[in-house]
Amino acid sequence: MSVRVQAGDFDPAEVLAGFGTGAGAVVTFTGQVRDLDGGGLLRMEIEHYPAMTEPAIAAMVAEARRRWSLSDVLVIHRFGALVPGERIMMVATAARHRAGAFAAAEFLMDYLKSRAPFWKKEITEAGATWVEGKDADEVALGRWG
C-alpha cells in the first residue's frame, strides 16, 4: 500500500514498476488537467490540508481493502499549480480478478473526489474560480452504501 501526496509530477511507468506482481488484474486511473470547454485555462491551483490528506486517503485505501481482496493499491495526488494536460493524480489497484480491481479503483476515485481534502481553483485571464463539488459526485458516493 502506498499513498503519496506531492507537488511534483510523477512517471507512471516508474511508480508502477513492480506493481501488481502476481495479480491477474491491474487497473489504473489517471486524472489530467482538462482545459475549459471554451479554452483559456491558464492553470489549475490545487490546495490541500497537509495534516489530513494522507491519513484521509489511507483510511479510504483501508476501507477498499476491507471490501475487496487487493494485492496492491497505489494513490498519488499532486497539489500546487498545474497547467492543462498535466497529470493530477493516479489510482492503481491489483487483484486476482478484474471485478475487484475495477470496483476498488472506482470506489477510491469516488471517495477522493469528494472526501479527500483537496480544492481546485481554475485560473483564466478573466480571474480565478474555485471548482464546485458536483451533485453527481455525491450521487456516485451513494452507490457504495
Binding site: G31, E47, H48, Y49, A51, M52, P55, A56, H77, I88, M89, M109, L112, K113, S114, R115, A116, P117, F118, W119, K120, K121, W130, V131, E132, G133
Partner: protein, 82 residues
C-alpha cells in the same frame, strides 16, 4: 486554545489560513456562533453552512460534533479532489 484552519474560499473570505482562539464552545456549531459574533467577515464566510464542511482533528464531522478536547478545527468548502 484551539487552532482554527481555513481552506479554499473560506481562507480567502476570512483573510487568513489559521488562527488560535480561546473558546469555551462545546460543539462546532457553538464555535461558529462565537466566530460570527466577532466580525462581519466571519458572518459572511459562515453565511451558508450547507456550503461548508468541517474537520475536527483532521476527521470530517458534523456541526454538532464536540470540540472540548479538540486541538484543531478546520473549515472548508466541499472537497474537489481526484
Amino acid at each position: 486554545m484551539i487552532d482554527i484552519l481555513y481552506f479554499a474560499w473560506m481562507r480567502e473570505r476570512i483573510g487568513l489560513p489559521k488562527e488560535q482562539v480561546e473558546t469555551g464552545a462545546a460543539t462546532v456549531a457553538d464555535l461558529i456562533d462565537e466566530l460570527i459574533a466577532r466580525e462581519e467577515r466571519y458572518a459572511v464566510a459562515f453565511a451558508d453552512l450547507r456550503a461548508i464542511r468541517v474537520a475536527v482533528d483532521q476527521v470530517l464531522v458534523g456541526f454538532d460534533a464536540p470540540i472540548a478536547k479538540a486541538r484543531e478545527v478546520a473549515f472548508f468548502p466541499p472537497m474537489t479532489g481526484g
